[in-house]
């Protein structure tokens, strides 16, 4: 009895389309909620930092973009994996001849696509409100997914390990606050205690903010190679952990 599974590309495309249909009715509210908090943060922090110079405002803008990615990727992916897990939806996928990592990737990509409008809105509004000149570098095409993937992976992990959806939601808020506050994400390093700057080196948000700053405002330096390498490494490790924690087929 010879039956063959579909190719990885077919798996990924079908699963991505299935995941995208999840947003048939809710995409507007998700886009708005993904943009509203970062926009408020741009306005509020921008108001306080308006006399602190262009560098500080650049941190406010890119930190808000990281926040936008966190809400639209980490938070929503966490919520979706909790849904898949607690509503028995993983059983459907686990009994199809597909690889678990294609499902994880499809979920993450669908949220990444969904997060782009709020990211663009935050960037444009931020540049307008803060008066930070945007000098877009083509490397932004690699930077955005590199920033979003580890954050989405953390969200997936939280959705899979929390004992209840409510616990997952609280954990997500805690992790969001810690990642934003740890290291030079929204605030320049010279305004932060040395300990926080040092601890920030362990946080993906620090590298994401740094990469976004270079690709969006410039200049692009050798640091971007370090940022992208760290983000890629974190993505691999976090996705591996997500695969291990996912209630999937045995063996």
């Amino acid at each position: 009895m010879v039956r063959k599974p579909p190719s990885l590309l077919v798996q990924l495309m079908d699963l991505l389309l299935i995941e995208l249909t999840n947003w048939r009715w809710s995409w507007r509210s998700l886009v708005i909620t993904g943009a509203i908090t970062p926009l408020l943060s741009v306005v509020a922090l921008g108001f306080f930092a308006r006399d602190s110079g262009r560098d500080t405002l650049a941190y406010v803008l890119t930190g808000s973009l990281v926040m936008s990615l966190m809400f639209a990727n980490m938070g929503n992916v966490r919520s979706h994996f909790a849904y898949l897990r607690f509503m028995g939806a993983l059983d459907y996928f686990a009994t199809l001849p597909i690889q678990r990592y294609t499902l994880i990737l499809a979920v993450v990509l669908s949220f990444l696509l969904l997060s782009l409008p709020s990211l663009v809105a935050t960037a444009l509004a931020g540049a307008l409100v803060l008066g930070v000149p945007i000098a877009l570098h083509p490397i932004i095409l690699a930077v955005i997914p590199a920033c979003a993937l580890p954050l989405a992976g953390i969200g997936a992990l939280l959705g899979l390990i929390a004992r209840t959806p409510e616990e997952g939601s609280s954990l997500n808020l805690l992790v969001t606050m810690v990642l934003l506050g740890l290291g030079p994400v929204m605030i320049p390093p010279d305004h932060l205690p040395g300990t926080l700057v040092a601890l920030g080196r362990l946080s993906p948000a620090t590298y994401a903010a740094s990469a976004l700053r270079q690709a969006l405002i410039g200049p692009v330096t050798g640091q971007i190679v370090v940022d992208l390498a760290v983000l890629a490494g974190l993505t691999v490790v976090i996705f591996w952990l997500v695969g291990r924690k996912m209630d999937w087929r045995q063996g």
Binding site: M1, R3, K4, P5, P6, V10, Q11, D14, L15, L17, I18, T21, N22, W23, R24, W25, Y83, L84, M87, G88, A89, L90, D91, Y92, F93, A94, T95, L96, P97, I98, D247, R249, Q250, G251
Partner: protein
């Protein structure tokens, strides 16, 4: 050909003292329609989840077509269509999309998956629902969709967890007719869990009865019925909110609110009927033993012997 060989399987959930499956052994042959009966919590869903490799056994082995189910993660998904008791995976897909994607992900080409979708819409009589979203279907329509999804791609084995729940009598008949058709025309091996023992009797070729995690009986209904052949089924229907007024010493069981079933020896029937207070009854019926009685007999035995699971 042996499809499933379940040998001495044990499964205890973390934090539970009693195993959900306690040394269950069972063999299922190609082309069989096998029904699993048992009370809620008897271990039926746990057993089928191990058979479709969604749950790891603590001890014992399960093979599908001679290969351990956990040996190759794609072995079961390529051969088995599984319908869980509940699933919300397809909530935002239309009925047509759900069938197409499932067939395509089971390895069919796009053109074949489209043909399969159309055939399934016709087979399960849900053509009029093709463009409706799953989340907007009624419970019965969703059940039919999930059955159609389980059969998408024509897997040679189907494992169905309560296929007729939520269905009206007409749709229940459709389900049994389609399952019989798939079994007769394609030789599909069908394993299902049901509480609908009377209707399932029309299609079941062999039955397994689980009680407290143990397989207490397995075999053809006709063979197993010999154990309760000398029994009659007395069904008693009491008015709502009234306590059953029954002669003392009867082993009775409430199968629905106000509906009680008693298994009687032939020799006791006249005496018991004479003792019934008809003024307190809405209705009563007396039958020879059915598959449901078989289930009730084995499921309620105080000390049921464990019966070996060899195929009859």
């Amino acid at each position: 050909m042996l499809v499933y060989d379940v040998q001495d399987v044990v499964k205890t959930y973390p934090g539970q003292a009693r195993p959900a499956n306690d040394h269950v052994s069972l063999q299922i042959q190609e082309g069989e329609i096998f029904g699993l009966l048992g009370d809620n919590g008897a271990g039926k869903t746990t057993l089928v989840r191990q058979m479709v490799n969604l749950l790891r056994s603590d001890a014992g082995s399960i093979t599908l077509y001679g290969r351990p189910v956990a040996h190759d993660p794609l072995h079961v998904p390529l051969l088995v269509g599984y319908m869980p008791q509940e699933s919300h995976a397809l909530n935002n897909l239309s009925v047509g999309e759900a069938l197409f994607f499932t067939a395509h992900l089971r390895g069919l080409s796009r053109a074949d998956a489209r043909r399969e979708r159309d055939a399934l819409l016709e087979l399960w009589q849900i053509g009029d629902l093709r463009d409706k979203y799953s989340s907007r279907l009624s419970g019965g329509q969703r059940r039919l969709l999930r059955l159609a999804v389980a059969t998408a791609g024509s897997p040679p084995v189907l494992v169905l967890d309560e296929p007729t729940n939520d269905l009206d009598p007409q749709r229940r008949k459709l389900v049994w007719d389609v399952l019989r058709h798939l079994n007769g025309e394609r030789g599909t091996t069908i394993i299902f869990i049901t509480h609908d023992a009377i209707e399932a009797e029309k299609v079941i070729q062999r039955v397994g009865i689980l009680r407290d995690g143990r397989l207490v009986a397995v075999g053809r209904p006709s063979d197993l019925k010999q154990a309760v052949d000398r029994k009659l089924r007395l069904e008693l229907i009491f008015p709502p909110d009234s306590s059953p007024d029954l002669p003392p010493g009867l082993v009775r069981r409430e199968v629905q609110p106000g509906r009680w079933v008693v298994l009687l020896d032939w020799s006791d029937a006249t005496t018991v009927l004479g003792q019934l207070n008809l003024a307190h009854l809405d209705d009563f019926r007396l039958y020879s033993a059915t598959l449901e009685d078989l289930y009730l007999h084995y499921a309620t035995l105080a000390e049921a012997p464990r019966i070996s699971g060899s195929s009859l």
